[in-house]
């Protein structure tokens, strides 16, 4: 099993100064560049610690937001590929449908793979709705553009003998021939995220590593859809390494200490949805049926406890989110047990994407959280034998 440490490199000092929106339209005068520099250096130090502890690294990007200063994921990856030694470097993800230039994306990612000597895990995502106003590419065609960009990047990474031509609906190139080509052959492993069974089945058919976020004890049906697509392509049942889950992690020497950290790490779900509402639902992003539901004021719950109770990720307590399998929190023993239980629910889950830092969590608290996890929980997870793939697929 692999565990990846994830933080969004937030700028929490502006979080109490918003007028209802931390994203898109929060004036950047609220950011002090000197303080941002200190924060960045600190966050990289913490990722270096993760590298030393045997924890892998996950980065992402968001735009125009105090919740995430990583606005160009390749910059984050570029720094990490030089200052870390062994960690796998997962970008989850690169919002390729929000970029006008997938050739540039292919060049960037191939270069990072080379500099890191083949440590890149290449996640492509469609991105959250509030990225749309900033990218300003038509959200109605986002899905089509995503797969076109995906096809192009893979083709660019795997074409070595002569330049090729590309003239598709969205992208036009001549003489495509990227230098350097990727270190890993045929290309870095591909990941993606989803909360939809339909997309899960498609990701399964492609055999990519699939991650879900905050799906708690409602994860299994999405994984099963992936299994269906994976096996329909003529493969044996997928192993646990095809599945990833993003959960919040807070480990303490005592339960009390862990719960104090749990409150801090939950700053992420409690703030990530603070955005001017029209930016949350760009046209064409959700289906017409979902939009009718929204007009009628009907929501769609995402996180459930084992016994089917709906938990609101933004407002739930530490205990609620532990019950929902969204937060793994407690002493090392408790956290290990919670994760193992969750893996059982999933029928195998081989990549824990651990948000072990969020919000205003201090450097000392973050170091403590990572260190305790790395020393006390990680070795046991590495030794843990995942459920049999064939049994999960039945």
């Amino acid at each position: 099993m692999r565990v990846f440490q994830f933080t969004e490199q937030p700028y929490p000092d502006a979080w109490d100064k918003h007028q209802g929106s931390l994203r898109v339209n929060l004036p950047n005068k609220l950011l002090d560049p000197a303080h941002a520099a200190d924060l960045f250096h600190r966050y990289y130090d913490e990722w270096q610690l993760a590298d030393q502890l045997g924890i892998d690294i996950m980065v992402n990007e968001h735009h125009q937001t105090a919740t995430c200063m990583s606005s160009a994921c390749v910059i984050t990856l570029a720094v990490l590929s030089r200052i870390t030694k062994r960690a796998r470097l997962l970008i989850l993800g690169y919002p390729i449908a929000n970029r006008p230039d997938p050739l540039r994306a292919a060049e960037e990612l191939a270069t990072i793979d080379v500099i890191s000597r083949g440590r890149l895990e290449m996640g492509f995502v469609k991105g959250v709705p509030q990225e749309v106003p900033v990218a300003n590419l038509n959200p109605v065609f986002q899905n089509q553009r995503f797969w076109e960009a995906h096809d192009f990047i893979i083709k660019a990474m795997t074409s070595h003998d002569e330049p090729f031509n590309w003239e598709s609906e969205n992208f036009h190139y001549r003489q495509v021939n990227i230098w350097p080509r990727p270190y890993q052959q045929p290309h870095p492993p591909v990941w993606s995220t989803t909360g939809s069974k339909l997309t899960a089945e498609k990701l399964g058919s492609l055999g990519y590593t699939m991650a879900t976020l905050g799906t708690g004890y409602g994860t299994r049906p999405i994984y099963d859809a992936y299994r269906k697509g994976y096996m329909a392509a003529g493969r044996p049942p997928p192993g646990a390494d095809r599945f990833a889950y993003l959960g919040f992690v807070a480990v303490g020497e005592t339960e009390e200490e862990a719960r104090r950290l749990g409150e801090l790490v939950l700053a992420y779900p409690r703030t990530s949805g603070i955005v001017h509402p029209p930016f949350r639902n760009p046209p064409g992003f959700l289906s017409v049926q979902d939009n009718v539901r929204i007009l009628k004021g009907e929501g769609r719950p995402r996180s459930f406890t084992k016994d089917g109770r709906v938990v609101n990720m933004r407002k739930g307590s530490v205990q609620d989110l532990i019950d929902a399998g969204v937060l793994f929190c407690g002493t090392p023993d408790q956290v290990f047990d919670q994760i193992i239980d969750f893996i059982g629910h999933c029928g195998g889950m081989g990549n824990l994407l651990m948000m072990g830092h969020a919000g205003g969590m201090s450097h000392e608290d973050t170091v403590s959280n990572l260190t305790l996890f790395g020393r006390e929980v990680l070795p046991r997870l590495k030794a843990f034998r995942q459920p049999e793939a064939a049994a999960a697929a039945e």
Partner: protein, 273 residues
């Protein structure tokens, strides 16, 4: 009224694309192109259609993607819609057509008229969008996708209370049309936002009598925008309308229909008796 007008509905095929049209009245043919956005969604019981039908044979399609008929994959721009409607005129073999477009429909109408006026007699644009007047940092239209629906209604209507949809009391069918209309407007007009950068320089090609109606309470378009639009079309008349905002055909349907009829009869008395 809704039930009666449903009888006017039919689904036809043009270029292999399914199209829902509402046809009523008799007289010279009039093609009515509806606006976009949930507030501008096509409604078969639109009072303006009934009012126009007193003087014209009104043909009112629901643009592909806005209602129950899907837009084909290739139909992604107002340019595509314009050629499609030119094909509709060929298909129905209509001549001397009075082409009327409101807001987003006005954009389509202008794109049609710069391509060919061979089957057209008159062009009427009501608070149209589609061209760029402002400088690079000045939007000509409110960014409807960055504000609340309630704010849009306040900017669009002279009487915002009457124009704001009463969501809890709307049918699922109407909500469906609102959601489709919101998505389809973005399909054709997300970026460049509600305009074609090329269109302004082509408006000089319009060689039929043109009337630009302007619901003067409109605050969706920038002040002076509709007047500037009219100034780009050779000989176009500009007529402000009171008690109406961005959708004069919705707020003052009778005055709207009368303005269209007057414009047609004044220019060509034998068209309307």
């Amino acid at each position: 009224m809704g039930a009666a007008s449903a009888e006017n509905l039919q689904r036809i095929k043009v270029d292999g694309v399914e199209l829902d049209i509402n046809e009523q009245g008799s007289g010279p043919p009039l093609l009515f192109l509806h606006p976009g956005h949930p507030l501008g969604r096509f409604a078969h019981d639109e009072p303006a259609l009934g009012a126009l039908a007193k003087s014209f044979r009104v043909i009112a399609p629901t643009h592909p993607g806005f209602g129950h008929a899907d837009a084909p994959k290739w139909m992604t721009s107002v340019d595509d819609l314009a050629y499609f409607y030119l094909d509709l005129l060929n298909e129905l073999d209509l001549n001397g057509v009075v082409l009327v477009g409101a807001s987003f429909g006005g954009w389509i109408a202008a794109e049609i008229a710069v391509k060919s006026t061979a089957r057209l007699s008159r062009l009427v644009l009501a608070n149209p969008v589609g061209i760029k007047i402002g400088d690079r940092e000045t939007r000509d239209f409110v960014d409807i996708y960055s504000i609340f629906d309630k704010e849009i209604a306040e900017l669009a209507y002279a009487d915002a209370a009457a124009g704001t949809p009463d969501i809890p009391n709307l049918s699922d069918e109407t909500l469906f049309h609102m959601a489709r209309s919101r998505e389809a407007t973005a399909r054709y007009g997300w970026s460049p936002f509600l305009h074609n950068p090329k269109l302004k320089s082509r408006l000089h090609r319009i060689d039929i009598p043109t009337l630009v109606l302007y619901g003067e309470a409109d605050r969706i378009t920038r002040d002076g925008y509709c007047r500037a639009y009219a100034d780009c079309i050779p000989g176009a008349q500009f007529k402000p309308m009171k008690d109406a905002g961005h959708f004069p055909h919705k707020e003052t349907p009778d005055a709207f229909a009368q303005a269209v009829a007057n414009f047609v009869v004044r220019k060509d008395k034998e068209l309307v008796s």
